[in-house]
């Protein structure tokens, strides 16, 4: 019973860096980084996002209640959102995109996902609350 996270960025390195920061707060949470156009350039690829979704969802094939609660997806810009939507429709995974800033949202979501009572909705809400963060 846990919620997984996927961080999607146009840059694989940006996604990995964001996951590196969020993982500090993530405890045992499954958190996957995915990004880049697959040719070493900037972009996102639905197939890669789909793979990350399946990994973050955990062993959905297990019997009983050990199935994951689903996956909250953090995205950066424009076509990353569209490609994440396509990936979610193609993947057999319960996943939602959080309408949140990608780094702050990932950190918030990582913290929220460590709550033993975390649900897909509660983690998404916390991720989206990151939109309210004021810095100066």
């Amino acid at each position: 019973m846990s919620v997984g996270l996927v961080v999607v960025s146009h840059s694989a390195r940006a996604a990995e860096g964001i996951v590196e920061i969020a993982a500090e707060m993530a405890g045992e949470t499954r958190i996957e980084a995915v990004g880049g156009d697959g040719r070493g350039g900037i972009g996102t690829v639905p197939d890669d996002i789909e793979d990350a979704l399946v990994t973050a969802a955990g062993d959905a094939g297990d019997e009983g209640d050990d199935d994951g609660e689903g996956v909250v997806v953090l995205v950066d810009l424009g076509s990353a959102v569209m490609n994440a939507e396509v990936a979610i429709e193609l993947a057999d995974v319960d996943a939602v995109i959080a309408d949140a800033p990608v780094l702050e949202g990932a950190v918030n979501a990582a913290v929220a996902a460590t709550d033993p009572n975390a649900t897909l909705e509660s983690v998404r809400e916390q991720a989206e609350a990151a939109g309210e963060i004021s810095k100066v």
Binding site: G43, L77, M82, N83
Partner: protein, 250 residues
């Protein structure tokens, strides 16, 4: 069935060739209002799609459509990948029973719905939807109401798409990268609408070839559209709405 699959592969080949020959044209259109990558991205994606389609053993229409869609999703990049490719993956399922006027209407409607949904764009936003919507509506009406043969229906659809492309010129873009330009987007033809038209033109050519028919002369002065109230309504809605933040591509 396999003959239909091969016909779809032939259409993919024709589209790829056309997009390649229009690469600079599309890039020029995109450089005026976007990031000048539409021609190159589409040409690369469709070339890969041809390879993938030719590799299918005993191709059927659904498999070809889905394979091409998947390839475009991965290879085109930007917003065009999910819009052209992602929509094709989902619409391809409508061809499971082969290529008939009915399945093609369903295919076209699903494709349009996916593009609208994914891009959050409506008619009148200055996007590929402006070419696609009149084409899909015209094809559907020509088949279901006017009882035209498939080739005539497709020819009318291409005509409608052509007028849709022209329609993107004098209007202000409200979606896609061009929308960042605001009023400066007025006077520019949308690259995505243009490549949509090229794709439809090639599909028509291949269909005519396969059905052993001449491409019917359509009468552009008496289009099918004006008595199709649905189109007019959507158009009014699109023009009246101030869209939220534009969907940017990377």
């Amino acid at each position: 069935m396999s003959g239909e699959g091969e016909a779809v592969v032939a259409a993919v080949e024709a589209v790829a060739e056309r997009i390649e020959s229009e690469r600079d044209h599309l890039t020029d259109l995109d450089s005026a209002i976007g990031d000048a990558d539409h021609g190159g991205n589409m040409a690369r994606g469709w070339a890969k799609a041809v390879d993938a389609a030719r590799d299918i053993e005993d191709p059927d229409p659904e498999t070809v459509a889905k394979t091409v869609g998947k390839t475009l999703m991965s290879e085109v990049g930007g917003a065009s990948g999910p819009l052209f490719g992602g929509s094709l993956v989902f619409a391809g399922a409508e061809l499971a029973d082969g290529v008939t006027p009915e399945t093609v209407v369903a295919f076209a409607e699903t494709y349009l719905a996916k593009v609208e949904d994914r891009g959050d764009a409506r008619l009148g936003d200055g996007t590929m939807v402006d070419a696609l919507t009149p084409a899909v509506h015209t094809f559907k009406k020509s088949i279901e109401v006017d009882d035209l043969d498939p080739l005539s229906a497709l020819a009318k659809a291409v005509d409608a798409a052509e007028r849709g492309v022209a329609f993107t010129v004098p209007i202000r873009a409200r979606k896609g990268r061009a929308s960042y330009l605001g009023w400066r987007s007025v006077g520019h033809q949308d690259p995505g609408a243009t490549s949509t038209l090229f794709i439809l033109e090639e599909v028509l050519e291949v269909a005519a070839d396969r059905l052993d028919g001449e491409v019917p002369e359509t009468d552009a002065t008496s289009p099918t559209i004006p008595d199709d109230a649905e189109v007019e309504d959507v158009e009014a809605d699109g023009a009246g709405s101030d869209g939220p933040a534009p969907e940017g591509s990377e």
